[in-house]
Amino acid sequence: MNELIPLITCRQLTLGYGNKDIVRDLDYDVNVGDYLCIIGRNGSGKTTFLRGLSGLLSPKSGDIELCEGLKRSEIGYLPQMTLVQRDFPASVEEIVLSAFQGKHRLLPFYGRARRERAMECMALTRTESLRKSCFRELSGGQKQRVLLARALCAAERLLLLDEPVTGLDPESSETMYRAFKDLHKKGMTIVMVTHDVDAALDNATRVMNFDQISVKGK
């Protein structure tokens, strides 16, 4: 067993909205090379925890720390789809390319390397044929795959996924899981919130169960 190097550390972490605490006094490390699956009932705090990790929700108390020089711009994130996006006039390519905004400072255009990377990610999620299509005219599953392609583009060291296979047909989910596995082999750290427990246990190196907030290693 390799030595564990923490990538994100949570100390005495309490997360919540308003007066309500959803995650309380959690000590947890996401380590370099983890394929961590977070499971649990609806409302158990999985997504809240992921929002905490992604920096969208500030801790009410305690700390979340990025270690190993990890920068936000090296994180890929797949959020659950928002209402605004459903009827947004944008082409698939525009959306996937927007993944690079955290990385590049002020250039108003995208270089060739970025465009090629975007094409690779679209190929991985089988969305390259939709490149010029309008996002709002895609099916739910296609939209999900486009947002995933965007997350892959942004992810250099860490990939945060909030229910990535929701709305996908079995074949697409299978492709998805294979893509995650390949990425993980190449050294990507993956944190995934999922309802799909069987698939989670198949692939994950660690499982975090929010129903018990007990954490099992493997």
Binding site: S54, G55, L56, K71, R72, S73, E74, I75, G76, Y77, P79, T82, V84, Q85, F88, P89, A90, S91, E94, I95, L97, S98, A99, Q101, G102, K103, L106, P108, F109, Y110, K132, S133, C134, E137, R150, A151, A154, L160
Partner: protein, 283 residues
Amino acid sequence: MPELIEKLSFYLEFPFVRYAIIVGVLVSLCSSLLGVTLVLKRYSYIGDGLSHVAFGALAIASVLKLTNNMFLILPVTIAVAILLLCTGKDSRIKGDAAVAMVSVGALAIGYLLMNIFSTSANISGDVCTTLFGSTSILTLKQEEVYLCVVLSGIVLFSFILFYNKIFSITFDENFARATGVNTTAFNLLIAVIVATIIVLAMNLVGALLVSALVVFPALSAMRVFKSFFSVTVAAATISVLCSLIGIVIAILAGTPVGSTIVAADIVIFGLFYLIGVARNGGN
């Protein structure tokens, strides 16, 4: 027809008509660019709220007898824009109520001040002009035109420079923030730009009709076009054309400039709506 063209070229001899056209084109260009973002972020009503704030500030400025009222109107509007756009993003309903509150509040106080401290004999005429911009665009002074050109230049430059950032924040602010975009700074920038545009546009169509300039071109373009880039370009084109048409008609037919421009925008919206319906098979 020849008489009309003759009449038009006769009017174009006058500097105030040329000023009106320059300002009209620039303001409608800027407002339509940001309009796409505002409509998509569900902030359409912000333009309206801010224009009422600008009206209130204008009233205060005229009470204080400031020589150049821009120096008061612009900062006040920018401050309120930051307040409205950069807070309360987690609580949409509260933000909505805040806009409504600020909007009517500023309108009422502005009118009240103008009435109490009236400096001219024709208050209702003044108020009407400010609200509907009936003549103000044709009474622009040279320095106002310069100010407008400079400010629109800055707005256009920042929009082009930050176009991709603005897109990514508009489409998915959470993703942008999680992947390292400084969304707070860019929301601030958007708020400042929006406020600037509103203040500029008030000269053109008046406080009450400002949101038409922001909203209509974007909505028209979104009926037909499918990528963010094409929507943005189309909105800008539509907006500039409508303003030109509006100003020309207003000059030739003697109608109020602001309402004529907005009427042109409405007609174009209807047209694009029909094209959209025809394309999507009634969807």
